[in-house]
Amino acid sequence: MLTRRGKIMYKATIGIEVHSQIKTRSKMFCSCKVEFLSAPNTNICSICMGEPGVLPHINEKAIMLAIRAALALNARINKKSIFARKNYYYPDLTKGYQITQSIPLAENGYVVINTENGEKKINIHRIHVEEDTGKLFHTNDKVSLIDFNRSGVPLLEIVTDPVIKNEKEAISYLKRLRQIIRYIDISDADMEKGQFRCEPNISVSKDDRRGIKTEVKNLNSLKAVEKAIKYEIERQINILEKGGKVIQQTMLWDEKEQVTKTMRSKEGITEYRYFKEPDLIPLIITNEMINEQKELIPELPQSKFNRLMKEYNIGVNEAEILIDNPHIANYFEKSIEKGCGIKESLGWITTDIMGILNKSEKKFSYLKITPQHLSDLYKYIENKLINMNIAKSILHKIAFTGESVDKYIKSKNLIQITDTKSIEKIIDEVLEENPTEVKRYLEGNNKLFGFFVGQAMKKMGGKANPGIVNKLLKDILNRR
């Protein structure tokens, strides 16, 4: 993105490093359980605690899932990758080094995102497996506590090339990447639980030469990522405008103050003394392993996105909502297959069902209405037996019971009233009960028309065909 300051145009360049936990039952290099909610230091053993004399052994399941991710990200898988040690001291790091990879599991991938100017490929430089650290908790009384349950949990590191131009592209990339990870079921990628963490590298420059970059940490939501990138670009431009130099360093996003702050200067302490991990032999990936994982990759978000738009002629925004969760997209397609109208199904899913789920804070899997329910409901609408408002209220009522549409409509007697005589009778009653309003309407206050419609609908329990009510009311009032 170009930002103009006076005569100068500044260009931002962003690369993103993502760490995604890999959903395995046990840790990367030992057999301890991976569990988010366990009491502190209960899922630990001599290996993930780095006791003297222990050795790591590789969790094959984690490798298989990482291969699946590499394939879904269109990356070239290295048949032989090498584990390495990244050496540094920190209390949450039990061995004094993190086991990562020097020759990564995969390289040269890409993710397609949608921008205002159409599709854009975000190149992925490398994808490798590594282990997570423990977690530190700082208490008020100068004591720090460490929970090692996370120590050794498998991580997938995904690093892009510096090809992202602004915070919007960054967010599109992260959303798409997270969707892919969820589609292929290698992680729930919940940012709040720390299962999906991102660290953008940001630099700005006036010309083609790359500026000095900073890295931003402590981003716990996409909102934070967006704000932090925006803030950091502004901060760097301001430095350059004043004739200063950006310092290569790690910044921390301060959620309270909404600013980035210096965490540590990178100079001198990025000496991680990498070397080949002598405790692990090279990781060999066979064609069989790759083929096995290929089979398990479903239709991925971008293909689904393009197909849905084409096949059902729906808009960009609706397609984005549908593909956000593959189950929702499937649900939509099933409902059409069962005979539901496209417009109706889209509306019900993207506004009503999503609204119900958001409000009740329940997951999609808790929903009891099926695509068949939508199609049944649609038949009532199509045959003008109920109106849209009634349909929507039915959805809300049966969302978590799954009662049949037919039964529900019958038991609640919701079939539309289309008989003009009954409707006329109700309208007469309404006008009789509200003489003042009638008088004001006749004096020219047209807004009161809606009031009469509302009153009449209320008396009929919302079941009347609103078109017929409107027409009859107009006729009756005109006669007065």
Partner: protein, 486 residues
């Protein structure tokens, strides 16, 4: 043979048979060694578990009474170098850092020995974290050489070698990163094996240099060592660097003629004349017995020590990073910050030699020094290739184990370069991965032991043991014992 003779000079096979046939009670056996260890003043053990060993002996007695099938090491007491984990017992690595640290699990080799009904006696002394060639860097004081108490037993497995030489155990485990089993075996006049890298599980061996470390036995003869090796070797899923290979089977005695290689390149000025003479005379003996002896070119003993130091210290600097005073081990009394906690705990917990090696290794691993590290790997590969070439034509390659007989305590402790140099012949095997065994080769004029190293092809321990056993069948060097031990 009476029981005392049997206990002090018998082979594992003979002692086991006597125990099973009730000629010798396991408690008698265990008590004998415990008394020895207590009465001796050579400081070979850091810890001795008298009650537990006797309890175990009684358990085994019961097993015998119940007619359960006795294991291959039934009733055989053994000692363990104190850098190998035995569950529930301290594993100090002869360091203040781990002075009170108890292992929470068993090393794979320990499980394998216990499964064969061996009896664990205690932990032996070593150079701190196995870094040294004299056992002088131990936090618990040096071990004395049983042949001459003014001299070092070698190192780092000095406690294990001295314990065998003074007959405080039937066999002992050591670890060998650059010669730490073979050099003390030579200095103490006993037999010690470093197997092919990847043949014995390292799980439970406190790492010094992971790509070079191997656990191995020290004992009375090649025959005993082969039996132990057949038990402790093999693939271990807990150590991915172990090779998936068939279980080792003890070799048959052979009458075949060996193709033996040696090199004159190692007979430089530094070598002690006694050692040179003994090597040459055994080569003559072998020639007379009809074996083929050939001189080959092998000029790596100059390079092995610097390359070994670079690689081993690099890995050590990383392997020893876990001792940060936070989860276990020594923690300083008071500190002002996290950095201060690290600096003080490590500064106070580690000894001089360990610190020297950590600093050196840290320096080597810095990005700007990468060339030193990678070229060291290249030299390692050249050594391996050179040995591979030799073994296309020859069964075994013979060198002295050391340049000199055991030196005096304090003689070279302040000269690290000289001290490191004693690994010149042995570290070749660690760099290349080949198996090496040191067997006794008689005594110097001053009555000090000399060792000969036999090297074989990788994973060809069979050849190595056949040859070593053959030599011990035509000579009596391995039966020499220090004054007072007989």
């Amino acid at each position: 043979m009476n029981n005392i003779e049997l206990i002090t000079n018998g082979s594992i096979k003979e002692i086991r048979e006597a125990v099973i046939n009730r000629k010798l009670y396991t408690t008698e056996l265990v008590n004998f060694f415990i008394q020895r260890i207590k009465n001796n003043k050579i400081n070979s053990f850091i810890s001795l578990y008298e009650d537990d060993a006797l309890k175990r002996a009684e358990e085994l007695d019961k097993k015998l009474k119940n007619c359960e099938k006795p294991g291959k090491l039934f009733g055989i007491p053994y000692a363990v170098k104190d850098n190998i984990a035995v569950k529930g017992y301290e594993v100090t690595c002869a360091s203040k850092m781990l002075k009170n640290y108890k292992a929470t699990y068993n090393a794979t080799v320990i499980n394998k020995l216990n499964d064969e009904d061996a009896i664990f006696l205690g932990k032996t002394n070593l150079d701190e974290f196995a870094m040294g060639s004299s056992t002088e860097t131990s936090y618990f004081g040096t071990t004395l050489n049983p042949w001459d108490n003014n001299r070092v037993p070698g190192g780092s497995s000095g406690g294990s070698a001295a314990a065998i030489a003074s007959r405080e155990s039937v066999f002992a485990l050591g670890s060998d990163t650059g010669g730490s089993i073979r050099q003390p075996a030579a200095f103490c006049g006993v037999t010690g094996l470093k197997a092919t890298y990847g043949f014995v599980s390292r799980f439970g061996l406190v790492a010094f240099a992971s790509s070079l470390d191997q656990v191995g036995p020290i004992g009375r003869s090649a025959e005993d060592l082969e039996l132990i090796f057949s038990i402790i070797s093999g693939f271990d899923e807990k150590d991915t660097t172990t090779k998936k290979i068939e279980n080792y089977k003890v070799s048959e005695p052979t009458k075949r003629k060996f193709n033996i290689a040696y090199t004159n390149d190692i007979f430089g000025e530094e070598i002690s004349p006694d050692i040179k003479n003994n090597i040459l005379s055994i080569l003559n003996l072998l020639k007379k017995e009809g074996h083929s002896i050939s001189e080959v070119a092998f000029n790596f003993s100059k390079h092995s020590v610097p390359v070994y130091q670079i690689l081993s210290c690099s890995e050590a600097s990383s392997n020893l990073a876990r001792y940060d005073g936070i989860r276990y081990g020594y923690q300083t009394k008071s500190y002002k910050s996290l950095l201060d906690l690290y600096n003080r705990s490590r500064g106070e917990g580690f000894g001089e030699e360990v610190k020297r090696r950590i600093l050196f290794g840290t320096y080597i691993l810095m990005a700007k020094n990468n060339a030193l590290y990678t070229s060291s790997f290249k030299v390692s590969r050249l050594i391996r290739e050179n040995l591979e070439n030799i073994f296309t034509e020859y069964d075994v390659f013979i060198t002295p184990t050391t340049f000199s007989p055991p030196f005096k305590i304090g003689e070279i402790i302040d000269d690290p370069i000289k001290m490191h140099h004693s690994d010149a012949f042995t570290s070749i095997c660690n760099l290349s991965g080949n198996p090496g065994i040191s067997i006794p080769l008689g005594l110097t004029d001053n009555n000090l032991p000399i060792g000969m190293q036999i090297i074989a092809k990788r994973f060809d321990e069979n050849n190595l043991f056949q040859f070593a056993k053959y030599i011990q069948s035509i000579t009596d060097y391995h039966k020499c014992l220090p004054e007072g031990v007989k």
